[in-house]
Symmetry: C2
Subunit: 285 residues, 2 copies
């Protein structure tokens, strides 16, 4: 499918993407571009990439340029890449926010060579060591503002994600960011805040962690996520995240009020409402 793919940023997502391509024989050579020498070397050692190059060199050689770096850096790096490319080349990103990235590139003369995508897969770990085989499979990939991409570029990205087992969803970059706030960004904030809640207490009580049963571990899993990646996501999606966070705090206050007033019926009702999520998630699997 590709002769050469250049991944910009060599971490969890791009590394897993490179592995997925290699595993399926979809690429002859993967070039890695990284600001961090150590990450690049590690990616080379792990066989995620075949060669390390500068951004300029890497872009020149590639059929596909795959950008997976913190979303604040994406904006300027995508700009640079679009400045450098030839008309046959394709650029895509894997950022968790889409509105600002798409807005910043809207009037770029090479905008049509860019496909804004968000493969909805990840783990709480980061860096090239976190890359895994068989990532992405069975999950959704959101493609944003598709009418702004050239047909051939769009088709290539659709094919590659479908080939590695994702199903495609289309929406505007604005709608994406609203949805992402609800189904991903808020989960990270609640998880970070839950970890801090327990750590606040832990000053007094070391023993508490011995009790961490399955329930706590799964709700707090995302609290291990990398702040360097999440700070720019929260900042770029600030208004939507605040909107959801306010709703979430008000939902927690309902539980608080029901508990304070010992209102059994209301507490039962709140939990029964929440139970509906089980059916809805099940219907997605």
């Amino acid at each position: 499918m590709f002769k050469t793919v250049t991944i910009v940023g060599v971490g969890l997502i791009s590394g897993s993407f490179a592995l997925a391509l290699k595993q399926r024989g979809l690429v002859e050579k993967v070039i890695g571009v990284s600001r961090t020498e150590r990450s690049a070397q590690k990616a080379l050692e792990l066989g995620l990439i075949d060669e390390i190059m500068s951004l300029e060199e890497g872009v020149k050689r590639a059929d596909l340029i795959y950008v997976a770096i913190p979303v604040n850096a994406s904006i300027s790096v995508l700009q640079q890449i679009l400045d450098l490319i030839q008309p046959h080349q394709i650029v895509t990103d894997a950022g968790s926010t889409k509105e600002q990235i798409c807005a910043s590139l809207e009037y770029h003369p090479n905008r049509a060579r860019f496909v804004a995508a968000h493969p909805m897969w990840g783990t709480e770990y980061s860096g090239p060591e976190a890359a895994v085989k068989h990532a992405f499979t069975g999950k959704a990939c959101v493609i944003c503002d598709k009418e702004q991409s050239a047909q051939d570029a769009l088709k290539t990205i659709e094919e590659v994600y479908t080939y590695i087992g994702m199903h495609l969803i289309y929406m505007s970059s604005v709608a994406h960011d609203i949805h992402a706030a609800y189904v991903s960004h808020i989960s990270h904030i609640t998880s970070f805040a839950l970890a801090n809640t327990v750590l606040e207490k832990e000053k007094e009580e070391d023993a508490i962690f011995e009790l961490a049963a399955g329930g706590f571990e799964s709700t707090v899993r995302l609290a291990k996520s990398n702040p360097d990646m999440w700070l720019p996501i929260f900042m770029q999606n600030r208004e939507n995240v605040l909107d959801v966070l306010n709703e979430h705090i008000s939902q927690l206050r309902k539980f608080k009020a029901a508990l304070e007033k010992e209102n059994h019926e209301y507490l039962q009702e709140l939990m029964q409402q929440a139970n509906r999520i089980g059916k809805i998630l099940k219907s997605q699997n």
Copy 2:
């Protein structure tokens, strides 16, 4: 180890406990006591129990009586059981709260035959169909107020949980409930509230669930939990849960304030703090 074990309540915990005993040849016969005929029949069909009996009959025949029912029902049922037993019999429970249960039995003449325990294992599912083999293994079992149990009764319960792969932790019933609020009960409340946050929005946007990536699913998993089980837990542990819930809301408000003020440093700091949970949980595994 046991000739006959009677499980009172035939659900996730007692069913998994029965399976664990059977699998290891630790019991000859398991009797099931249930208020719900359908659950009892199902447990029989699934081979979790060998016979269905009334509470009185079941208690009379058993070496060990294992109570795993909603914690409000536990109080009166444990009282009845202690009224019925002979001096060689042992009674234990698996409730998620301990303070009120222990307090209610404190002056019972047969208190020494009771061992208050909380095996820290569970899933978001309930009922006999939810019972699984290989449950409990690798998790902690908390034994409360052990000085109030007879040596032989305590030793038996310690041995059986150790045998099925749990490690033992000892604390007072009061301390247990404080810790449980932090490492288990709050996770359930945040999960219920997160589900309601997203469902509130879903009225407008069906598409949102198509995006539910791994992150959302794991933080919202516990929202599928059974309200009939959790309402009495929250009510019995009301003060501790409220204390933690207040702390959690204040931690969420810190994220909110940092976002509102676009205070990057503070947001970064809050996430870095939360990251510490990863190391602490890791050191427990």
